[in-house]
Symmetry: C2
Subunit: 197 residues, 2 copies
């Protein structure tokens, strides 16, 4: 029997295969990091054919998005565990898990940037969702923090995100390695959130 509007009827097998692919991916990443993930290795470990991988994920990056978003959300949970930070220094400390993961690998950072925005309105991906979360978490904190009040918390949050991305970029840049990531971000955010002119 078929209901007129397209039905999916997903088989149990599908979920099982998908779970095997995810588990295999995590195992491969465990061994050599995200950048070392090869689709052929994943399907070999999972015990399925290559084509099956692409029946479950649109492409390799789609899988990476899922895996990275999972980790990132755990980092956000950690960041939100304590009470809301009030000062620039406290904000940086609270966000440390997130920034740490984001800069754990150059390859990870590049992928995060590429998928930080939803290319099409309808399809906001897991990573784009994480960046939305980054924005919302910061905005909530900034509403009650000791920061300038002349502009909206939304704008302040966008700025913090921009400065954080800048500081993370420079972490991968040999030319600017004289200062630490947290030190640099602190300078940025003091100037952005607590201007004195």
């Amino acid at each position: 029997m078929q209901i007129s509007l397209m039905e999916k009827t997903v088989q149990k097998r599908t979920l099982k295969t998908r779970a095997r692919l995810i588990a295999a991916s995590e195992e491969v990443i465990q061994r050599g990091g995200y950048s070392a993930l090869r689709v052929e290795d994943v399907v070999q470990v999972a015990g399925v054919a290559k084509g099956t991988f692409f029946a479950h994920f649109h492409d390799k990056d789609a899988l990476m998005e899922i895996l990275m978003a999972e980790k990132l959300n755990a980092c956000f949970d950690q960041a939100q565990a304590g009470e809301a930070p009030k000062t620039v220094t406290q904000i940086i400390v609270a966000m440390e898990p997130v920034h740490s993961f984001m800069t754990s690998e150059r390859y990870v950072f590049d992928l995060l940037i590429r998928y930080s925005g939803a290319a099409a309105v309808a399809e906001i991906g897991p990573i784009a969702y994480c960046f939305e979360r980054y924005f919302r978490v910061l905005m909530t904190w900034l509403e009650t923090a000791d920061v300038r009040q002349d502009v909206a918390p939304e704008l302040l949050a966008e700025g913090v995100q921009a400065f954080a991305m800048q500081a993370m970029s420079l972490k991968f840049c040999a030319l600017h390695s004289s200062q630490s990531f947290q030190g640099r971000l602190e300078v940025y955010l003091q100037a952005w959130l607590t201007p004195t002119a």
Copy 2:
């Protein structure tokens, strides 16, 4: 005869082949944009073997860096042609050619970010050099512009760069397409350069 300290003795042929590869690349890009560039097409147009390409450029991205940096430097020349801008709006207008090229293609923007920092101190690439130039141009302008004086022009310039990158990122994001690039950047920079609290 060979002088002891390593000599290069570059043949004329080398320069000619390299010029042919560059010209062929520009022709291919002319037709389909940067993202459509295929090494096999380039060597076919240039009339050389594939291996020759990699004898002249470390990899495809190295060629892209050279080509994009050439364009970018032309944009900077244009930006610096007039007299130094004084206000936020004038700065945005002056930088328009640069931002326009940077966001001309998603593929171009991604490459620019990836190569914006020098991975190794010794080898600052063409794109990393362009980002240095971006910073220096802004810093010079900001020294004599109508902006806050409580922080150094260096820091202000870094901030403008961070906000510009953020605004360009959002240009590729369907979720935030309600506002224009220049409008968004103007809001950012007013808050960054001329705070009122």
